[in-house]
C-alpha cells in the first residue's frame, strides 16, 4: 500500500477533512460522556442549546468566536508561510496590555478616534512580540516554535507584574486588575443586555481583508510559495526574510487585536485570566479551516459553540467542561489525517 499525490482535489473532498475531524471529536466526546454516566443525546442536546439555543446563547457563542477568529487568522497566515507562531497567547496579552496603556486615561479622544487607536496600538504590540522570534529564525535559524512558546510565559509574567505593580487599578480593592478602559474606548454592544460587541465587525473585516490579501496580492503569492517550498521560492527570487517579516507582523497584529477586543469589548479591563488559551485554540481553528481565512470564521464559530455549549452542559450535567478542550484537540489531530486523505490517494 502506498500513497500517491492527487493532481487536483475535488471540492467535496476538501470538505471531507473538517467533517471527518468533527465526527471523530464527537465520537471521542461521546465515549467520555458515557464514562461520565450521562446520556449522549441529553449531553449533546444540552451543548447545542447552550451554544445556539437562544438569543443569549447565540450572542455568547459569537462573542467567544471573536477572539478565536482573530487568533485563528493569526495562526492561519503564519502556518501558511510555515512560520510556526505558537505564541498567539502571548501576543494577545501584548495587545491587551497596549490597549490598557493607551486606553485608560493616557489621552482623551472621542470614540471615532479612540477605538481605532486602541486596535492600532494593540496590533503593533502584538506584531512587535514576534520581532525577536522572526529575527532569530531568519538570521540565526533558531526554531520559532520554541521561542514563541517560551515568550508566552515571559509575557504572561510581565502582565502579572504590570497588574500587581504599575498598572494596578487603585480602585480594585487589591485585586490584580488594571483600570477600566475609558468610555470612549469601549466597543459598543451589538445586542442590548448581552456581551456581544462591535469586535465582531473587526474580526469579520480582518478575515475578508486577509483573504483578499492572500488570494490577490503579490504578498499572498510569496506566502504561498514560501509555504509550499521555501527553497524553490528563494531560487525564484522571492524575498524570504522580508516576506516572513510581514507574515510575523500580520500574525502578531491579529493576535494583538484579539487582546484589544477582549479588553475593550468583553471585559472592560485587563486581568490575568483574560484568555482561557485563545492563542492555542486559534491553532485548532486555523487547522480545522485548512488555513483558509474565510473558513476560519466558520471554524471559530463552531469551536466557540463547543466551548460555550460544554460550559453550560458542565453546569447542568456531571461532565467536566474540559471536554471542550478534548474535542478541540482531537479535531486538530483528526483534521490532519483528513487533509492527508484528501491530498493523497491510497494505491495498492
Amino acid at each position: 500500500m502506498r500513497l500517491e499525490l492527487r493532481e487536483s482535489v475535488p471540492w467535496w473532498l476538501s470538505l471531507a477533512a473538517p467533517i471527518m475531524a468533527i465526527a471523530l471529536s464527537l465520537l471521542l466526546a461521546s465515549l467520555l460522556i458515557i464514562w461520565a454516566g450521562e446520556s449522549i443525546i441529553d449531553a449533546f442536546r444540552m451543548m447545542a442549546i447552550g451554544a445556539f439555543g437562544s438569543t443569549f446563547a447565540l450572542t455568547e457563542t459569537l462573542s467567544r468566536a471573536i477572539p478565536l477568529t482573530l487568533t485563528g487568522l493569526a495562526a492561519a497566515i503564519a502556518f501558511r508561510a510555515r512560520f510556526y507562531n505558537i505564541g498567539a497567547e502571548g501576543q494577545l496579552y501584548c495587545g491587551a496590555l497596549a490597549a490598557t496603556l493607551v486606553g485608560t486615561g493616557l489621552m482623551d479622544l472621542n470614540a471615532f478616534w479612540m477605538i481605532p487607536l486602541l486596535f492600532v496600538a494593540g496590533a503593533l504590540a502584538g506584531g512587535c512580540a514576534l520581532l525577536l522570534p522572526w529575527y532569530l529564525k531568519t538570521r540565526l535559524s533558531v526554531d520559532e516554535v520554541v521561542t514563541t512558546l517560551l515568550l508566552n510565559f515571559v509575557i504572561l509574567l510581565l502582565v502579572s507584574y504590570a497588574l500587581e505593580g504599575p498598572l494596578r487599578d487603585p480602585m480594585s480593592m487589591g485585586w490584580p486588575q488594571a483600570a477600566p478602559i475609558i468610555d470612549a474606548g469601549v466597543l459598543p454592544a451589538l445586542v442590548p443586555r448581552t456581551r456581544l460587541h462591535a469586535g465582531l465587525y473587526v474580526a469579520l473585516a480582518a478575515a475578508i481583508v486577509l483573504w483578499l490579501l492572500l488570494r490577490f496580492s503579490v504578498f499572498g503569492f510569496s506566502v504561498k510559495a514560501l509555504g509550499l517550498n521555501s527553497n524553490a521560492a528563494r531560487h525564484a527570487g522571492i524575498p524570504a526574510t522580508r516576506t516572513l517579516f510581514w507574515v510575523a507582523m500580520l500574525s502578531g497584529a491579529l493576535a494583538g487585536a484579539a487582546g484589544v477586543s477582549e479588553v475593550a469589548g468583553l471585559k472592560g479591563y485587563l486581568t490575568l485570566d483574560l484568555s482561557p488559551g485563545f492563542g492555542y485554540t486559534g491553532i485548532a481553528v486555523a487547522m480545522l479551516a485548512n488555513l483558509h481565512p474565510l473558513g476560519v470564521v466558520l471554524s471559530a464559530t463552531f469551536l466557540a459553540g463547543i466551548s460555550v455549549g460544554a460550559d453550560s452542559m458542565g453546569r447542568a450535567l456531571g461532565v467536566p467542561s474540559y471536554i471542550a478542550d478534548i474535542m478541540v484537540a482531537s479535531a486538530v489531530l483528526s483534521v490532519l489525517i483528513g487533509l492527508m486523505l484528501s491530498r493523497y490517494r491510497v494505491r495498492r
Binding site: I86, V142, D143, V146, Y161, Y280, S330
Partner: protein
C-alpha cells in the same frame, strides 16, 4: 555576599538536584525522539499525563514503583499516537505535537475532574521518601547536597549513562541515530526506519511521562492544575542547548535547575527591590538565550522534521 551565602548552602545544591530530576528525564526523552528525527512537541502534555497517571496510581492504592511504570506506559502510548501521525503517516510534527499536548493535558484534567469533582487540588499521597546513602550521606555538606534524595532522583542520574551507552554503544542506538541523520542509509541496511523511529518516540515519550510523574510522586505529593507550567518547552530548548548530546543535556538540566533554585532564594532576599515575576521569568528568558548562544554551531540531526516514506527521495 548574599549570593555567596546561597551558593555555599547545602540546601541550595540539594534543591538543584531535586529540581533537575524531572528536567533530566524529559530532556533525555525529547533528545531520543529528536535523535531519531522526530520533534516531539507533545512533551508538555505527555508530562502532564505522566504527572496525573503516576499520582492516580498511588492514589488508588498502587505502589510507587508501579506508578512510575504506569506513567511510563501512558507516555509510551501517547508516543505511539504521536509516531503513528508523524512517522507512519508522515504528518506535520509541529501540529501533531501541539495537538497531542492539548489532548493529553485536557484529558488529564478531565479525568481528575471526573474522579474528584469537588476539589480544586487533588488530595495528597505519600510520595517517594528521601533515602540516605549509607556512609556518604553523613559527609558534611556533600551528604546533604548529594546523597539524601528520593530513589527516583538517583534513577534520573543513572538513566543518563544508560542512555549514553544505548545511543553510542549498541546497534539499536546506532540505528536510532542513523534514522535521524540519513534514514535512506538505514533502509539500505535492511532496517525498518518506521519501526526504529516509532520505538524511539515511544521510549522518549515514556521518559517524558516519568519526568512528569516525578513531580507528583517524588518532588511534590499531589497533582495541581497547570503544574508542568512550561517545563516541557524548556526541555525542548535544553535539547538544542545540549547539541543533542545526553551528557550535555544533563549539564544543561543541572544548570537550569540550579538557576531555578537560585532564583527562588534570591526572591526571598531581593524580593523587596525586584518584583518576583522577573525571577520567575529567568528560566524562560535564559532558555531563549541558551538557544541563541548555540544557534551558530547547532548541529541538527540532518533528517529532523523530515518524514520518511519508503521509496521517496528526501
Amino acid at each position: 555576599m548574599d549570593i555567596l551565602d546561597i551558593l555555599i548552602s547545602a540546601s541550595f545544591w540539594a534543591a538543584t538536584i531535586r529540581i533537575a530530576c524531572p528536567l533530566i528525564f524529559a530532556t533525555l526523552g525529547e533528545l531520543i525522539c529528536e535523535r531519531a528525527g522526530v520533534l516531539n512537541l507533545g512533551i508538555e502534555g505527555i508530562m502532564t499525563a505522566g504527572a496525573m497517571s503516576g499520582w492516580l496510581w498511588v492514589y488508588n492504592g498502587g505502589d510507587l514503583i508501579g506508578a512510575v511504570l504506569f506513567a511510563a506506559a501512558v507516555g509510551a502510548m501517547l508516543g505511539l499516537l504521536h509516531a503513528s501521525f508523524t512517522v507512519s503517516l508522515g504528518l506535520s510534527q509541529h501540529v501533531t505535537g501541539i495537538g497531542i499536548t492539548l489532548l493529553a493535558s485536557s484529558l488529564s484534567y478531565f479525568i481528575i475532574k471526573m474522579l474528584l469533582p469537588e476539589s480544586t487540588s487533588p488530595p495528597k499521597i505519600v510520595p517517594f521518601q528521601n533515602i540516605d546513602v549509607p556512609i556518604l550521606s553523613s559527609l558534611p555538606f556533600l551528604g546533604e547536597a548529594l546523597f539524601s534524595h528520593t530513589p527516583l532522583t538517583y534513577t534520573a542520574f543513572l538513566v543518563v549513562p544508560i542512555i549514553m551507552y544505548v545511543l553510542y554503544r549498541t546497534p539499536w542506538g546506532l540505528a536510532m541515530r542513523i534514522a535521524g541523520e540519513n534514514p535512506v542509509a538505514l533502509e539500505a541496511q535492511g532496517i525498518d526506519v518506521i519501526r526504529v523511529r516509532t520505538l524511539a518516540v515511544m521510549l522518549g515519550s515514556a521518559l517524558m511521562a516519568i519526568g512528569g510523574a516525578s513531580l507528583t510522586i517524588s518532588a511534590f505529593d499531589a497533582f495541581y492544575f497547570g503544574m508542568i507550567n512550561g517545563r516541557g518547552w524548556i526541555c525542548v530548548a535544553l535539547v538544542i542547548f545540549a547539541s543533542w548530546r545526553p551528557g550535555k543535556a544533563l549539564l544543561g538540566a543541572l544548570l537550569f535547575a540550579g538557576l531555578d533554585a537560585f532564583q527562588v532564594r534570591m526572591q526571598q532576599q531581593a524580593g523587596a527591590y525586584i518584583p518576583y515575576q522577573f525571577f520567575l521569568m529567568l528560566p524562560y528568558v535564559l532558555s531563549i538565550v541558551a538557544m541563541i548562544i548555540v544557534a551558530r554551531r547547532a548541529e541538527y540531526p540532518k533528517a529532523l522534521l523530515k518524514p520518511y516514506r519508503r521509496g521517496e527521495r528526501l
